[in-house]
Amino acid sequence: MRSNLNFFSDEKFRSIFFQTLVIGLFALGIYFIVQTTGYNLEKRNIATGWRFLSDPAGFDISFSPFINFKSTDTHLDVYFVGVLNTLLVSFCGCIAATILGFLVGIIRLSSNWLLVRVAYIYVEFTRNVPLLLQIILWYSILIQLPRVKQSLEFLDIFFISNRGIYSPRPVFETGFSYVFIAIILAFISSFIIRRWAKKRQDETGKQFPVLSSSFGLIIILPLLLFFIIGSPMSFDYPALKGFNFKGGMVIRPEFIAMFLALTIYTAAFISETVRSGILSVTKGQREASASLGLKKSWIMRLIIIPQALRVIVPPLTSQYLNLTKNSSLGIAVGYADLVHGFGGISLNQTGQAIECMVIVMATYLTISLTISVFMNIYNRSIQFKEK
């Protein structure tokens, strides 16, 4: 009896004992859930397994910009279409939300009374209205645009209706690959110039116009080449034929609604993160750099932002994760994302609810963890390095 008491009064033993107990109970719980699910499925004669993935889907998906999907393709193809659509709207949303969020965050700290108020109202409004309502609001507005036969026209090549925004589609002809190679080369060389300029500045203090020279390289060089080799690109223009526009490119209202809602909603949170990051840099830093005679824009770019980023990036990561996960609300407006296509239609047509949900959840987990990994790498690269 005494020795028993001794065991429990030993802190190390106690902590190991309780941790093992908790893990054991957790494992037991998982085992129990799996067993019960299997039992209930069998009792209700619900077929299980992964065979349905190779069965033909039998339905069509209209929004599939990357894969040419047909109804004879399999449920696995439905999955890939969904993943790509989820990634598309998440990627575009993250980029746009970052730009808008930084802009609004900086505006809120500016001295312009009107801009500050507008930004304040924007942030408070969008942060406090559920995202789902915002998505539906944008969609309801877009669907009230003119009908396809009464489309708004711009220069006879852009058409806006409630079926989407139609624009000419570039068709690349032979020879365009040279232009493409030129663009890549321009990117690489501007990167090299940047490193060289930084090194030179560190050593000699002389500056080099990196931004304008990179701009010239990336834009003007490929453009020149493009015209020299005789414009190897034409456009496929949209034209109204029958029920719809044929040809050209189209951005669907479902995508636009999702993109706008996700961007505007998440940007409000990002702007607050940015604001807090900038405010975290002490006033002394600003004053010290001003007394060194730095320009206002330089103070922001060289002194404030690099220090603010250390505070901004971790919460920014979680905003990216939120945006990606929130893209699953696309189901509300029929945006053909992962949840809508595979986790919705395939699930329902095959009845394999558990299988589909497991796959969808595992996919979101993978996407989220991937984003986290990259953001953590970036975060480490901007952290203050002790010299």
């Binding site: 619900i46 339905f59 069509d60 209209s62 669907i143 409630n162 209202p253 029929g334 609810a353």
Partner: protein, 334 residues
């Protein structure tokens, strides 16, 4: 989505009792019946907020059979997508939700269709201003389609078979389809012909809409229950059959009391005067009498909800009795 997930959770954690559904329903004191989110003529709240329609009558008929009281139903709305998990998880005792009877649903999903209460087929509805007279002229059109339905698969097959293209606009509910069609986001709305009639009747100006003549599929719609509980399946099956047999025998809610002294043996069996059919089903002896008294026979339910005198204006057609040129047929009551 939330609903789907909670249903998923319920499916996982359901430690459902082994007692039969009939006992569960009796103990609970009311029937849980899964219906659509609102489809006029089949199941939709009427002006006074009461659920009404052919499917709603089906639910009420089962409630009457079990409790002798048409009000002992809780109507639970389901979308095309949530209906099967809702039934499988035991959230509802039965579905009467214009659901097509197919082999995969009957076999693979573990359900049992107990009969057909409406023979339907898939059609197309367009604005008459489009000037289209046949579905084969719909090349390139944008089509509103409810996801997770048989119509979604039929649509893909039809356009593939005819070698014409279309753009699908997926929607979740009939209301969403209506909204998108009326706003011109899609050119065509396709669903069961009865659903189209219902949608057309709900339009501000029904004359502006045209249901195309093509019927591209068989859609036998009927009530369904979970597979494996045959006693409960029998109760639902014979509640439906009782209404059909009543029409065949000329028994209606108006003459049902007088018919109790009929000299036709099957009428007497149906109304519980002779035989012990109620006992076999573990129901009250006058269960079928009560259905006819409180709900009416099939014809009465049809005429009140979807028939030619209603806004839906659907002629009996295939849904007429087998003796009157239709295919509505119930096994004998003996």
């Amino acid at each position: 989505m939330k609903k789907l997930l909670s249903i998923f959770a319920v499916t996982v954690f359901a430690f459902s009792a082994n007692a039969g559904t009939l006992d569960d329903v009796k103990n609970r004191g009311f029937l849980k019946c899964g219906v659509t989110t609102g489809l006029a003529g089949f199941a939709a709240p009427d002006d006074s907020g009461e659920w009404a329609g052919l499917d709603a009558d089906m639910c009420r008929a089962v409630a009457v059979a079990v409790f002798g009281d048409r009000s002992k139903v809780e109507f639970i709305t389901t979308t095309g997508k949530s209906r099967f998990p809702t039934l499988a998880s035991g959230e509802v005792d039965m579905l009467a939700r214009n659901t097509t009877w197919t082999i995969s649903r009957d076999v693979n999903l573990g359900f049992e269709f107990v009969g057909v209460n409406f023979y339907d087929g898939q059609g197309f509805m367009i604005p008459s201003s489009l000037g289209v007279s046949s579905a084969t002229e719909l090349d390139g059109a944008t089509v509103c389609i409810q996801t997770g339905t048989t119509t979604e698969l039929n649509l893909a097959d039809f356009f593939r078979l005819n070698g014409i293209s279309y753009e699908a606009l997926p929607i979740e509910t009939n209301d969403e389809g209506k909204e998108n069609l009326f706003a011109g986001r899609c050119d065509v709305y396709t669903t069961d012909a009865s659903g189209l009639s219902s949608t057309r009747a709900a339009a501000a100006d029904p004359g502006k809409w045209l249901v195309l003549p093509e019927i591209i599929s068989k859609e036998p719609l009927g009530p369904l229950v979970r597979h494996g509980d045959h006693q409960w399946g029998d109760v639902v099956r014979w509640s439906l059959n009782a209404m059909i047999i009543a029409e065949e025998l000329g028994v209606s809610s108006e003459n049902v009391d007088a018919q109790k002294s009929s000299n036709v043996p099957e009428v007497l069996r149906l109304l519980g005067v002779e035989g012990s059919y109620g006992e076999m089903l573990e129901l009250a002896p006058d269960w079928a009498y009560q259905i006819i008294k409180q709900i009416g026979n099939y014809s009465e339910s049809y005429e009140a909800n979807v028939g030619p005198d209603t806004p839906l204006e659907i002629a009996r057609g295939l849904n007429a009795l087998w003796t009157q040129g239709g295919i509505l047929y119930a096994p004998p009551f003996r």
